[in-house]
């Protein structure tokens, strides 16, 4: 029995504490800005905090939110995002997104970029986001 438990512990795949789904970024030219969107799923019983995002595709990467005030709309930086236990947080158009500022190269439709998210509990999580032109 003990052997079986050890086997399960070491060889069966464990679910990631945080998983990233449906990651995509908007196509854009070198020198301009793009936005990255995805869903973050917190599979654990503890809240976690996204506090930094890295990408070699841009000079500056920030967590942003789009906000509305009547007919006016704008964007502002958000220092961190709390992902509640067993929940999904969506980064989506007209809402929270990752700003890729001053792109170092053209982001062409169909290409992929590696992104690293940094969480207070789960640590760094790497994934690839596909460049799309959908709106």
């Amino acid at each position: 029995m003990k052997l079986l438990l050890l086997f399960l512990l070491f060889f069966l795949p464990l679910q990631d504490k945080i998983s990233v789904e449906n990651a995509w970024m908007r196509n854009a030219s070198k020198g301009m800005n793009s936005a990255l969107y995805f869903s973050l799923k917190n599979n654990s019983d503890k809240a976690d905090v996204l506090y930094q995002v890295e990408s070699s595709a841009a000079e500056l990467v920030q967590i942003h939110e789009t906000y509305e005030d009547g007919e006016m709309t704008g964007m502002r930086e958000v220092k961190e995002i709390v992902i509640e236990p067993n929940s999904v947080f969506n980064f989506k158009p007209r809402s929270h997104h990752i700003m890729l500022i001053r792109l170092k190269k053209d982001l062409k439709e169909g290409s992929e970029e590696e992104i690293t998210l940094h969480f207070k509990n789960a640590g760094p999580i790497k994934f690839k986001a596909q460049v799309r032109k959908v709106n």
């Binding site: 908007r26 000079e59 500056l60 920030q62 709309t73 964007m75």
Partner: protein, 196 residues
């Protein structure tokens, strides 16, 4: 008494007509604006488009979230116009960031968004000219927070009206819509009304 009846009858007719008019707004753009398009060709707005229905969107190219949706919506309207064989419609995306949105930057934007530029122009101009135009078009845009890249270059974004405006053949603003959320069927119906 007969006069009163006639006046009452005329009032009813007037009210019924008013209710049937989907575009009661008629704001005259009272000035002419010397602008440049994405090919650096001079455009006088709205004079050069008199006689055409104009779909005018307001954007800045460093905006990666809301403005691409406005441009995309204008492309959807342009596609519907073409499918329905509606002629005489011009599309203009006016930048409220003329200091960065030069004609070459606008050309790059038109190409990366795969805009059919046959009847779709991106417009920029001198800042003072653009500011007056925005005021005429009831659009607000001002710079929000500024941050800096590692090499000290400032990065700024705009807080702005999310807007597409419909301008009639006489250069009058007839309706205003949310640029990123516009109901395509609604503006197509309004364009058809203006074209009748």
């Amino acid at each position: 008494m007969r006069i009163l009846k006639t006046l009452f009858f005329l009032l009813i007719i007037y009210l019924l007509n008013g209710c049937n008019n989907p575009l009661p707004k008629e704001t005259v753009i009272s000035d002419s604006f010397k602008l440049l398009n994405q090919d650096s060709a001079a455009v006088v707005f709205p004079d050069d488009y008199k006689g055409k229905i104009v779909v005018a969107g307001f954007i800045f190219t460093n905006c990666p979230d809301i403005c691409p949706m406005t441009i995309h919506n204008m492309q959807l309207i342009q596609k519907r116009i073409k499918e329905e064989n509606i002629n005489n419609v011009q599309f203009v995306a006016i930048s409220f960031d003329p200091l960065r949105d030069t004609p070459s930057v606008l050309k790059q934007q038109a190409e990366i968004r795969e805009v059919d530029q046959k009847n779709f122009s991106f417009l920029t101009g001198r800042k003072k000219e653009i500011d007056i135009l925005l005021n005429e078009m009831n659009v607000n845009a001002f710079t929000g927070d500024t941050t800096y890249t590692e090499d000290g270059n400032p990065v700024y974004f705009f807080v702005h009206t999310d807007r597409i405006s419909l301008v009639d053949q006489q250069g009058r603003i007839r309706k205003e819509y949310s640029g990123s959320r516009i109901n395509i069927e609604e503006i197509i119906s309004d364009i058809k009304y203006l074209g009748e």
